[in-house]
Amino acid sequence: MKSFARAALAAALLATAGCATQVTRVSPDQAYDLSGKWNDVDSRQVADAIIRQSFEGAAGPSWSVSYMQAHAGRRPTVIVGSIRNRSMEHIPVETFVRDLERAYLASGQVQVVASADERDEVRAERLDQQENASADTRARLGKERGASYMLQGDISSIVDREGGRRVVYYQVDMTLVDLETNAKTWTGQHRIKKFIEQPRVRLF
């Protein structure tokens, strides 16, 4: 009887050990697709494609270089507007938008100003400084830089499903709109298509 109890205990221990959480750190460059839903790989690929397209001109220099040529070397200023998610999935757009902002700033071709959501906090701090900071260190009012262009975009998806198979198509469109004239100065697009096959029966 005792030996039976010991064997049961050992089996339980083994089972518990087998179910323990395993964590393996991997490179952010490694592309893993588990569920087929939008993931970090998609976000990064969209960012890469949009950044590349943004600094490419269809015929001649890119929009930012053209702006510099027409404005005595001054860089265009961009504000990030709304990036609408029209798909059925939850897609955090901030990841690739931040990548794009970072690319603009690092390139030295484009200036980026705080978006409508971000500037409220900055304005509150500036107002606070008017009362509480010393005169020589306080940030002055009315010195904000106005943007020349607004970056807008949307993500759409089309899903085709049959049985355990699914084809998901994502299309990300980004547009740069001239704030004075409403003219669309640049458009970028990236498309992703995934074929997802899920087993009908799962053991676990």
């Binding site: 490694q30 590349r52 600094f55 027409a70 070397g73």
Partner: protein, 272 residues
């Protein structure tokens, strides 16, 4: 026996389901799951940074050359205009580039021989001077004969130094607003016409032509008291205009009288 029949039925159902499924070519993956896919953004950004650096250096060198050429031989008034960043009649092509802080790449030259027209190469990013966005510049024998600004009410042509002053700019804008108001009045929309006339009156106040239009628009809108006030103001402004006109005539005559007096003196002395 029953079991065999059931198994056969199930197999047939499965075969039928498989036959009804859409047929497709084998899926060709473009990226293996778990593959290393390094981001290309950093390389793109580095290339863009180099391009921006080179472009800015090129623009700065070009501007320096243009500015040197523009300021090498300019009259004091043209030099001042270049320094202020304003176009003026009589400028050379280099001075136009210097005043608008642009390079040759921003402009497209049309025509040839004696008359050349410079138009912005990219309408969406047209060059501008300190006053407004420039629509075109006409050069005659290498000098600016006229230029046009793109303003909210349309193009404003400048072909003389007098037309480039802020007062002339206001007059031109008021004139454009009056024209716009006239179009609305013609269409029977007196409210919008009145709005344009009011704006013209703000830009160039005291102009009897604007006051008369405001009076008429108010009259047509059946606002008699306001219309009467405007009509009276119009007549008052006309009186002022008359006095001003007489004053100018008398000023001209005073110069002529002074000239006659000096001539009489010269003639009398030479006759002695």
């Amino acid at each position: 026996m029953m079991k065999k029949t059931q198994a056969a039925a199930a197999a047939a159902a499965l075969a039928l389901a498989a036959a009804c499924a859409p047929r497709m070519q084998p899926v060709r993956p473009i990226q293996a799951n778990g593959a290393m896919v390094p981001s290309t953004a950093d390389a793109t950004v580095a290339a863009a940074r180099d391009e921006a650096h080179a472009e800015r250096a090129r623009i700065a060198a070009e501007q320096e050359r243009t500015m040197d050429a523009a300021l090498a031989a300019c009259t004091p008034s043209t030099c001042n205009a270049v320094a202020r960043g304003e176009l003026s009649v009589g400028m050379t092509r280099e001075q136009v580039l210097a005043a608008t802080r642009t390079g040759e790449v921003a402009w497209e030259a049309r025509g040839g021989g004696a008359v050349t027209t410079l138009t912005p190469r990219d309408e969406g990013r047209a060059p501008a001077d300190a006053v407004a966005e420039v629509a075109y510049v006409t050069l005659q024998n290498g000098r600016v004969a006229s230029y046009a600004y793109r303003e909210p009410q349309g193009l404003r042509l400048v072909s003389s130094a007098a037309e480039a002053t802020p007062a002339a700019q206001a007059r031109a804008r008021a004139e454009a607003l009056r024209r716009e108001g006239d179009d609305f009045a013609l269409a029977g929309d007196f409210q919008r016409a009145l709005d344009r006339y009011d704006r013209a009156d703000v830009i160039a106040p005291g102009d009897p032509e604007t006051t008369l239009r405001i009076a008429r628009a108010l009259d047509k809108q059946l606002r008699p008291y306001e219309a009467a006030i405007r009509y009276r103001l119009f007549l008052h402004q006309l009186e002022i205009e008359k006095i001003r006109a007489y004053g100018e005539v008398y000023a001209g005559m005073a110069a002529a009288a002074a000239e006659a007096r000096s001539r009489i003196l010269v003639l009398e002395r030479s006759g002695r």
